[in-house]
Amino acid sequence: MSILNIENVHTYYGNIHALKGININIEKGEIVTLIGGNGAGKTTTLRTISGLLKPREGSVSLNGEDILKYQAHEIVYKGISMVPEGRGVFARLTVLENLEMGAFSRNSKEEVTRNMNRVFTLFPRLKERRTQVAGTLSGGEQQMLATGRGLMSNPTILLMDEPSMGLAPVLVELIFDTIQQINKEGTTIMLVEQNALMALTIADRGYVLQTGEIILSDTAENLKKNPTVQKAYLGME
């Protein structure tokens, strides 16, 4: 059974028709990637799922429950967590405080401690920097923090918006390794990327978004071999 189901979603910014009836299905335990160029509507898709934007038409359901009726902060309690584009760390809060905010929806102290230990195991660097103010971290460290913060609510599905943006190749590799690790530990992942090659390498399946429409969907393996994808997103002729 698919845990996340997006059907015929139309999202607008005023008069701008940003998503033109998209359909996406995500199965439990998968890594699904959504690739597409700048302005294709990737961020809009994630913001629609997380409740920051409300579509004018269509449905979004989690485990069969319609979640459009919930506000963004309520959706976190349902098990969806998002790592926003550009990381969005709270620059004036410390690393520890950022992680605590990630666990805002959790009331059990033991659970928060457990999640925090998990994050520190995934990103030992964050443990070293835990008392540091997040604004003073490097870009890579901020991405680790944003990812760790997203895990603090122990989500069933983690939405990640371009985690590789602006990072050096070594760090991209590290982040993607961690994404796989997180997935192995049982979290379903929806990964939005412009770095299509990396994304298709770790994903099970992928969707290709172009100006608000899904133009292709297939296994990652097949997408990598698809001439359209190779030409437009993998830079091959």
């Binding site: 997380s50 902060h73 967590s81 709270f90 620059a91 004036r92 605590e100 905010m101």
Partner: protein
């Protein structure tokens, strides 16, 4: 290119004026200070009095300033009705203090009486602030920044004249508390009991607020929301609830300040909130609007400068009644800060970027 000569001339004139203004202020301050100290007109005991009064007054400004700064931090708006929130707290405190005095409780248990009066003032302020937020601000969330500002000014007048309607334009005299009459002597220097009690109460309130903001889950969420509302919502934080909490906390501080202010001046009327409101706004800007420690520092600095300033800067340069210019000093400080360091003492230089 054609207008460049005219523009340059205008630029020069404006810059010249600003420099002249700066220099004038510096000359007045330096010369005034020098002449006053040489003249030796005031005893050191008097100076200490000025400073102590400045601290107690400043700690009240600081308490009020916290509300301006916290609401600004979270909504980027100036809550111009905050002075009236403060006034409503002073009124609330007045009624309960009068009643407690009437039944003899205040004389028997002055500390409890004071605490109860403050709590009641805080309660009244908080309720009124929540109403104002719900009615005058929340429906305008997302509107251009000028719109809630105008609504705030409207709310301010509305509250003033509502209080005037209910309680008339007259002045209500606060009951006198025997326990607060007279002085305590420290190292041979007498200091008014009221001023000490006011300062201590204000410092306690500020410490409570600061601990809430720094160390509690809700306080951290307040700071998160003030940085980025969308991302805060993604954490599961109910942004509206945090905004309401911020208004409530700021109003509670203003309500406490209202009671303390009324204890100092022994009176309250519908217009009581106006001047302290602007002063506290000045203090918030002075410390860097949006910055919580800044509001506290700004309040103290303003209180002290305003109290010491007339004697120190103005008395010996031939100004006939320097104490009448106390408010002018505060407003000149506001103008200077806005002109020369809009980010305030502790603020980051954000206004330049915006």
């Amino acid at each position: 290119m054609r207008t460049s000569f005219g523009e340059r001339l205008l630029d020069l004139a404006v810059n010249g004026f600003l420099w002249g203004f700066r220099i004038l202020i510096v000359v007045i301050v330096v010369l005034g200070t020098f002449l006053t100290i040489r003249a030796g007109k005031y005893t050191s005991e008097q100076w200490i009095d000025f400073v102590v009064f400045g601290i107690s007054q400043g700690s009240i400004y600081a308490l009020i300033a916290l509300g301006y700064t916290m609401v600004y931090g979270i909504l980027r708006m100036i809550n111009f009705a905050h002075g009236e929130i403060f006034m409503s707290g002073a009124f609330g405190g007045y009624f309960i203090a009068t009643w407690l005095t009437g039944i003899g409780f205040m004389d028997k248990y002055p500390v409890f009486g004071l605490i109860i009066s403050m709590m009641f003032g805080m309660l009244v302020s908080t309720l009124i602030a929540l109403l104002v937020e719900r009615i005058a601000y929340r429906p305008l969330r997302g509107a251009p920044r000028l719109v809630p500002l105008i609504s705030a000014i409207g709310a301010s007048f509305f509250l003033q004249y509502t209080f005037r309607g209910f309680f008339g334009p007259g002045v209500y005299a606060y009951p006198s508390m025997k326990a607060l009459d007279g002085e305590w002597i420290f190292f041979g220097i007498g200091i008014l009991k009221v001023q000490i009690v006011v300062t201590i109460a204000a410092v306690v309130m500020m410490s409570i607020l600061y601990s809430i903001v720094m160390f509690t889950k809700i306080g951290k969420a307040m700071r998160a929301v003030s940085e980025n509302k969308d991302v805060a919502a993604l954490m599961g934080i109910d942004v509206n609830r945090i905004i309401v909490t911020t208004f409530a906390l700021g109003a509670a501080m203003a309500g406490a300040a209202g009671v303390l202010y009324a204890l100092t001046y022994r009176q309250v009327n519908f217009f009581t909130g106006f001047t302290p409101g602007i002063k506290a706004f000045t203090a918030a800007v002075l410390g860097g609007i949006g910055n919580i420690p800044g509001a506290m520092v700004g309040g103290l600095v303003l209180g002290i400068v305003e109290s010491v300033g007339p004697a120190l800067f103005l008395d010996s340069i031939g100004i006939p009644r320097p104490y009448q210019l106390k408010d002018a000093i505060a407003y000149i400080m506001l103008v200077m800060i806005l002109l020369f360091r809009p980010s305030g003492i502790l603020g980051e230089r954000v206004s330049k970027k915006a």
